[in-house]
Symmetry: C2
Subunit: 510 residues, 2 copies
């Protein structure tokens, strides 16, 4: 691992930014491309964004039109040029250079074209393991035990076991399935499946397919498979027309008043009300569809960057224990350092780890860690064809190594602190246009006064050279890469300030 870190460092030092051809072509630069920007963690980054055309530009429009004859394109913003994108900068088909604070829906950990990630498959051994993608549950490669051990030892949230999967939904689905198995194992004791269970299961009927439930929270997002949609409650458009597990209960998630320091009494009351509701639901469900597991995000992301206190999570864990339900912490969006800790739930100082912690997105590989208490006895239950993807596990190893050798957790905390302070200043300056600045690390959000204005801010940010993302009904979320540094913060705050000023000016003129 030391040798690997050394090779990454030397690669970073030898990289010559002047060899990036597109840097020479830019026309209307918002920030100069002086080629002496030695402070960037990803070599070759420009000094700032550069917008040449409308967004989407003519080449993107043409590409989207082409694509619309082949597949759905309603959500496509523009085509991106991943040959030219670098570090925190996304370059689009028309050569526009955007500072990316959304990073392909929070999935790019090290920025675009980080040398450590590009190098993974230059190793012919890794390349073979990747293209000969094995059914990891039946014929794993000879490298697999060591790779799993490395990943588990490096990043496990104090849980002894790991299971790889394909994506966030798939990881949550399987953690939930494993919670059902563990719940029924406890109920069944030493007895094996009955004949009645076996026969009824084949026809989707109880007792083989029992009437058990998963508790989730209003505003939650845990994926879009039909199972996970029953635990997702962020936006109607995600759920309309799809049958659902109607008997799976939904509890209120705390929605705090900001700033937190001025509203602590009221926010504590909110915690209490939500926890009482959870307790009531446990009681009610026992009679109809007992709760086998509770799934929760440490910060509700898609739902609007809703935070809850450490106390809330500690009590929630205790309620799970009291009711023999398993706690599944969904770190698909919060995991991998962006909150300033590797796992966001580390902030809660839980007396013991959750039963499951799921991951995906920035980690490229997906899956979950789990406790020995929920181990599965029989094979063929938590299983599918691929059980993950060796290639993605290798990329995850490169990401973990780079986080270590570039001290990216410290970087996130420094940039996050600066960003939070800057946004709080803007909040004061532009009250009531923006409010509720909140976050941990660079996992930060703020609200805009209404949905329409929020959407306008996002459009104007893009015109100004910043790719932003919304969440909830009126929030803007920051999901930059872990290589988002202090000078990127300056650029972001500067452009945002101009946008807010412009909107305020427009409002005054009206």
């Amino acid at each position: 691992m030391a040798a690997y870190a050394q090779s990454v460092t030397s690669k970073l030092q030898s990289f010559d930014i002047c060899n990036i051809p597109f840097l020479k072509e830019s026309k209307f630069k918002l920030y100069s491309n002086s080629c002496d920007n030695k402070k960037s963690l990803v070599p070759g980054e420009p000094d700032g964004p550069c917008i040449k055309t409308e967004l989407p530009g003519p080449k993107s429009i043409e590409g989207i039109k082409h694509l619309s004859n082949l597949q759905m394109v309603q959500s496509v913003q523009y085509l991106a040029d991943y040959q030219k994108s670098i570090g925190n900068y996304l370059v689009d088909a028309d050569g526009n250079v955007l500072l990316d604070t959304y990073m392909n829906i929070a999935t790019i950990a090290l920025g675009y074209n980080h040398p450590a990630v590009l190098d993974v498959f230059k190793d012919p051994c890794n390349l073979k393991y990747m293209v000969n993608r094995s059914a990891l549950g039946v014929f794993p490669g000879t490298d697999w035990p060591c790779r799993m051990e490395n990943i588990l030892k490096s990043i496990s949230p104090k849980l002894p076991k790991i299971q790889m999967m394909m994506c966030g939904s798939c990881s949550n689905e399987n953690a939930v399935k494993q919670a059902f198995i563990a719940y029924r194992m406890r109920e069944r004791g030493n007895y094996d499946f009955s004949e009645e269970e076996k026969q009824s299961s084949i026809l989707n009927q109880p007792p083989g397919c029992p009437i058990l439930s998963i508790l989730s929270f209003r505003g939650a997002f845990h994926g879009r498979s039909l199972g996970m949609l029953s635990t997702t409650h962020s936006k109607p458009i995600q759920k309309l027309d799809f049958p659902s597990f109607a008997y799976w209960p939904t509890a209120s998630f705390p929605v705090y008043k900001y700033p937190l320091e001025e509203n602590s009494r009221e926010n504590k009351e909110i915690d209490c009300r939500c926890l009482e509701e959870v307790e009531d639901i446990f009681h009610i469900q026992k009679k109809c569809a007992p709760i086998a597991g509770v799934i929760v995000e440490p910060i509700q992301s898609e739902g609007g960057d809703n935070h809850a206190s450490a106390e809330f999570f500690k009590h929630l864990q205790q309620l799970c224990k009291n009711n023999f339900a398993y706690l599944i912490v969904d770190e698909v969006q919060t995991g991998c350092c962006s909150t300033g800790k590797f796992w966001c739930h580390e902030y809660f100082d839980l007396p013991c780890p959750p039963d499951f912690v799921t991951f995906s997105k920035k980690m490229q590989a997906a899956g979950y860690f789990y406790s020995d208490a929920v181990k599965v006895k029989h094979g063929g239950r938590i299983f599918n064809t691929w059980m993950g993807d060796p290639g993605k596990a290798m990329i995850l190893e490169a990401i973990i190594n780079t986080i270590k050798c570039q001290n990216l957790l410290d970087q996130v905390n420094r940039s996050g602190q600066k960003l939070l302070c800057g946004l709080k200043d803007l909040e004061k300056e532009f009250t009531p246009l923006i409010d509720s600045v909140r976050g941990r690390g660079t996992f930060i959000a703020y609200n805009v006064k209404d949905e329409k204005t929020r959407d306008t801010v996002i459009i104007k940010l893009k015109k100004g050279g910043v790719q932003a993302g919304g969440c909830g009904t009126r929030s803007i979320r920051l999901r930059p890469a872990l290589v988002f540094q202090e000078h990127h913060v300056d650029i972001y705050l500067d452009i945002l300030r101009k946008v807010l000023k412009e909107i305020n000016g427009g409002a005054k003129r009206c």
Copy 2:
């Protein structure tokens, strides 16, 4: 494309099999490694299997023990060495060389380490598109429209649109979701979602989350997500303890008597009974949970390689049309040439294409093709973070090109014909030990007299140097790569014959 085909061909010709180091090490060869095996489509293949140790061997046992401390290993057979595996031959951690007729659960199209697949990411442009894995629904790469067009034009089953996804379950989940949308769109007409629908959907309740159903068949396998498990009815162990959509109906799938030519009258009656049942179920469900879609495999694979006639599928499609339900043909296992046509449902001569055709496994990329009739109006409904994986789409392109330039569809038909004849001879020779030899292309199966003996045959085949796979309760399925040639058929039949003889001998001694 012509240039690509030429480069593959020249690569194949220049490959020197004598450079494969492990070929020099083998101790107890069942077949000679003469290094003059020029007839193999994948250069570097040995002439036959070679078993040196027990299976799993000592190194595999050690690796599995290591892995058991980190994750579930109940289904792991042995560790495979993907550096040394080549073509149709899987090499395990102990250097055993197996002729692989199971190919990592039917997922390796071109055999191990095919030069065309290894070459994909030697192109630095492809490498960048792969590691900068984009959110394809929002920021697709500049290459994406052309790649999608190439894939669609090359292999679409006469359907105009494609949607990429992550795996087979994910593809089926989303085809099913899209069927629900289309069903409700037709019902809703020009009206948009009502406020009541929006508000109820967030809480998993109708009318926003309607009580609609998907009809599936006994013995079917469509995946293991909770939604798809409600359409999967192959084995209790896959379903036990998981809540299910209890109101989704299950119909009987034809289970024919073999040989088909001697049982045509009886098999036609079976078709009629099954279709009548489907019709009855449509009628019953209308009152409680109308059927929005029917999902079906062209050959039930995991469930036991159960075939149904072209007439059955034609009538099924007509029943769907009569009842405004969409037909989803799940070609996850049958797609990509192994049945002797690119898509197995081509054999049925349907008067018009199905509404959806899903794919994954051997195609590495996953997703579905769909008709214009089921297009979705609103964005954010058929959506997830990645919407596929650019790297897998590139591998699919290489697979498609190689199928063309190596004429692999012809190869499958030639090998399949030889295999089927050979197995039918063995069926006669070893009645009643094996029966019901059936299949299309190399997608072939046969039954063994009972489950225990079937498992013994698989174990003995492995000892003899053949990796086989079971399905249903007493079947053995062949799922070789598309480069499984006539000389591989000879080796397979020869080893199987020895195994059957040994079992018969053992039975006589008892």
